[in-house]
C-alpha cells in the first residue's frame, strides 16, 4: 500500500469515565448468588457441576469443573448452601444449567485455598486452568487455552500486548486494577515471562488514564521487558485487531490465528487475576464492577462476588435516582441488555449500567441514504453498504460468493457503524447475520461434499 495508515482511528465517543477516581468498595454479601455453567453465551462450553443440592460450600471451593473444550472451573464466591441446580434463562433464550448458592453470611474460606505448585510450563497452564481464570476483556475465553496456544513452538510468540485500553465509555474497572494492583500485574507479567517465554510485554493504555500510566511506569521502572504504550483515546482502541495494528503494525489476515504473528493479546485484569491465584491461591470469585449510567444516584466502583444479582449491586451502590429504562452488563457499545435485575453478574461483567429512557437509543430504522459514514468509521474498512446489498440477494451461491469477496469475516464487531448511521440501521447485526449465513452455507456444502 502506498499510503499506509499510521494508526487506525475511528470514533470520538464521550468517555463518561465518572468513576475513574473512585476506589472500589466491597459490597455486603448477597443473600444468594447464581452461577451459570457457561461463561460466554455458547451453551456448548458449559462446565459440569461438582456439587449437589444441599451441599455446604465455602469461598473458593470448586463447584463446577471444566468439561470439554473452553469451559472453566467455577468456584464458590460465597459460603453457604447449594439450594438448586437447574436450567435457567440468562442472556439468550436458551436455558443454561445454573447453581444457586444461598449465603450463610459467614464468607468462610475454603481450606483448598493455597498457593498452587508449578514448575514446568504444563503445570503452570494446569494451575491457571484450576484458577478458573477467563479473558476478562469480554470474550471470557479461558486464559489457559490462549496461553497454551502461545507456547506452541510453531508460533514462536515473543510479544505480549497487555490490553488496558478500556475504550468503552463509563467502564473503569481495568483502570482501577492498574492503580491498585500494579504489583500483582507485575507478578503476572513475570510469570508469563518465565513460563510462556515471551520477551516483550507492552502495556497498552489509552491516554485518558494518565494516573495509571504514571503508576505503572513507576512499578516497571528498570524492567527491560516491559513497555508502557500510551494510545489515543479513540473507540475501538481496545479491539484486538485495532490494538495489534496500532502497536505493532501487524494485521491478522482472514483465517489466521493471532498467535501465528508471534503476538498474544490479553486483558490487564485477566493477567492480574491470574497472578492473584498463582501467588495466593484465591481463584476468580470476585471482581471490580463499575456501576454507572444516567439513572444511578451516584456512580461507583464496587467489588462484588461473581454471581451477585444486579438488584443487590445497585442497592449496595446507592440506588437509582430515576427509573432505569435499560440495564446493561458491560459497556454501552457492546454490553448486553438484561431483561431483569435478578440477572447475576458473571466473570466478564466489568460494568453494570443503568440508563434512563433519554440516554438509551431506541431507534426506528429507515432507508439507507448511502452517506458512507459507516464505511468511513469502520476500523477495518469493510464495505458495509455492499454487505447489506449482498444480504438481499436471493441466490445463496451468489450471496455466499459476494460476502466472501467482501471479507465480512474481518468484522471486529465494534458497532461503530450502527453508532454513526443516520438511518439508524442495525448495521452490525446485519454483519453478524451475514457471518451466520456463511457458516451455515459452509456447513451445508461440507455435508454435500461428504455425500
Amino acid at each position: 500500500m502506498l499510503f499506509k495508515k499510521k494508526n487506525i482511528s475511528s470514533l470520538h465517543i464521550p468517555h463518561n469515565k465518572n468513576t475513574a477516581g473512585l476506589v472500589p468498595t466491597r459490597i455486603d454479601t448477597p443473600k444468594e448468588v447464581v452461577l451459570p455453567m457457561n461463561v460466554t453465551s455458547h451453551a456448548m462450553n458449559a462446565s459440569k457441576p461438582a456439587v449437589s443440592v444441599g451441599d455446604h460450600v465455602r469461598v473458593g471451593q470448586v463447584v463446577a469443573c471444566e468439561e470439554g473444550s473452553f469451559s472453566t472451573f467455577i468456584h464458590a464466591p460465597i459460603s453457604g448452601t447449594v439450594t438448586s441446580i437447574e436450567p435457567m434463562k440468562f442472556r439468550s433464550e436458551q436455558e443454561v444449567l445454573a447453581i444457586t448458592i444461598e449465603s450463610d453470611g459467614k464468607m468462610e474460606l475454603s481450606p483448598d485455598i493455597k498457593k498452587p505448585e508449578f514448575n514446568t510450563c504444563d503445570e503452570f497452564l494446569q494451575a491457571v486452568n484450576n484458577g478458573g481464570i477467563v479473558g476478562l476483556g469480554g470474550a471470557a475465553f479461558p486464559i489457559w487455552a490462549k496461553l497454551r496456544e502461545a507456547t506452541n513452538p510453531d508460533y514462536n510468540v515473543d510479544t505480549v500486548l497487555i490490553n488496558a485500553a478500556e475504550c468503552e465509555p463509563y467502564i473503569t474497572s481495568d483502570h482501577r486494577i492498574m492503580l491498585e494492583e500494579g504489583n500483582m500485574l507485575k507478578a503476572g507479567i513475570d510469570l508469563l515471562h518465565k513460563y510462556i517465554g515471551a520477551e516483550r510485554f507492552v502495556i497498552c493504555i489509552e491516554d485518558n488514564k494518565q494516573d495509571a500510566i504514571d503508576n505503572l511506569t513507576k512499578i516497571f521502572e528498570g524492567d527491560s521487558c516491559v513497555e508502557i504504550q500510551p494510545l489515543p483515546s479513540i473507540y475501538p482502541q481496545g479491539a484486538k485487531q485495532v490494538l495489534l495494528y496500532n502497536v505493532t503494525g501487524k494485521v491478522v489476515k482472514g483465517g489466521q490465528r493471532m498467535a501465528s504473528l508471534g503476538v498474544l493479546i490479553t486483558n490487564v485484569s485477566s493477567v492480574t487475576k491470574m497472578a492473584e491465584y498463582m501467588t495466593t491461591g484465591m481463584p476468580l470469585v470476585e471482581r471490580i464492577v463499575t456501576v454507572d449510567g444516567t439513572a444511578v444516584k451516584e456512580p461507583k466502583n464496587v467489588k462484588a462476588p461473581i454471581g451477585t444479582p444486579i438488584s443487590h449491586i445497585i442497592e449496595q451502590a446507592g440506588g437509582l435516582k430515576s427509573e432505569a429504562f435499560k440495564v446493561l452488563i458491560g459497556g454501552p457499545m457492546l454490553g448486553t441488555a438484561v431483561s431483569s435485575l435478578d440477572q447475576p453478574i458473571q466473570k466478564v461483567a466489568n460494568a453494570v449500567l443503568f440508563m434512563t429512557k433519554k440516554e438509551a437509543a431506541q431507534l426506528e430504522p429507515s432507508v439507507c441514504i448511502r452517506c458512507g459514514r459507516c464505511m468511513a468509521n469502520c476500523p477495518v474498512n469493510l464495505n458495509l453498504e455492499g454487505i447489506a446489498a449482498a444480504m438481499e440477494l436471493e441466490d445463496e451461491d451468489k450471496k455466499y460468493a459476494r460476502l466472501k469477496d467482501l471479507g465480512v469475516g474481518q468484522c471486529i464487531e465494534c458497532a461503530c457503524c450502527s453508532y454513526v448511521c443516520p438511518a439508524h440501521k442495525p448495521i452490525m447485526q446485519t454483519n453478524n447475520e451475514s457471518r451466520k449465513f456463511m457458516k451455515k452455507y459452509q456447513a451445508a456444502h461440507a455435508e454435500e461434499g461428504r455425500k
Binding site: I369, C378, E385, M428
Partner: protein, 306 residues
Amino acid sequence: MSKLYVSASPHIHSGASTRNIMLDVIIALLPATAASVIIFGVKSLIVLASCLIAAVGGEALFNLICRKKQTIGDLSAVVTGLLLALNLSTNVPVWQCVIGTLFAIVCVKCLFGGLGRNFANPAITGRVFMLVAFSAVAGGANPTIVDAVSSATPLEVLAKGESVDLLDLFLGLHGGAIGETCVLALIIGFVYLLVRKVITWHAPVVFIATVFVLYLAFTGDVMLALSQILAGGLFIGAIFMATDYVTTPITTCGRIVFAVGCGVITFIIRYFCAYPEGVSFSILIMNILTPFIEKWTEKQPLGGVK
C-alpha cells in the same frame, strides 16, 4: 418496576439522523437562497415557493395515493425543491416550475422507491428535463439589483469570446439561475457543510479543479479559466449535487473518480459543443456510472484475503 427494555448493542447512538442531515443541507443553501432574493428580487421568491410547494406536496400526495408511509418528514423533498428552484431563472413560469419539480420528485425519486433508491439526482434530472422540455431555464433573466445591459448569461458571453468581470461573477451580479450566480454564498454553504461533516471536500474541489485545469491546459488563459469556473452552475452543482449521497459513490476514492469524470464532461460540453452549460449533464451521466465506479474502486478490508 416496569419491564426493562432489551435490544441489541450498541445501546447509545451518535444522534445523527437523515432529517438532521437534510436540515444541514437546507441551512447550507440558505445563503444562496438569500442571495437569490437580493439579486433577482421578489420574482425569485415565486420560483422558490412554487418549487418547494410542488416538491413537498408532490411527495405527500404520492405517498397518500400509493398508501405508503409518509416520508416528507425526512425533509429530502424540501432539499430537492429548494435545489431545483435555485437552478432556475426568474423567467421560468410557475407552471413550468411545478411540472419540473413534480417530474423530479415523482418520476425520479418516488417511482424508484423513494429516498435512497433513486439512481439519479432528482433536482439535476428535473433541471435537465426542463431544459429539454421548455428550452432555456437558466438564461434570460436580469438581476434587479444592478443595471444590466444584456440579459445574456456569463457563459453565453464567454462563448462569444468576450470577457466578464471576475468580481461580478464571484458576487453573482449577472443573469442566470437564481441560486447559481452568487459564488460567495455557495462557498459559505460549502464551508458550513464541511464544518458539520455532512460532506467531504473531495468531490467539489476535484470537480472544480478539473474544469479549471482543463481550461488552462487548452487555452493557456488564466482569466478565462477562472471565469469558466465562476460562471454557470459549476459551484452549485459541485457543492450540492456532486455530493448527493444517494447518487454518487460512497467511498472517497470513488468520489474523486466521480468528480474528475464530472469535470471532464463539463469541460467537453462547454469547450467543444455549441451548448454553453454542461454541469447538469455531466453530473447526470456520472450518476449513471456510479455503480460501475463503486465496483472499480472497491477496497479490501483490513486483513481481507481474496
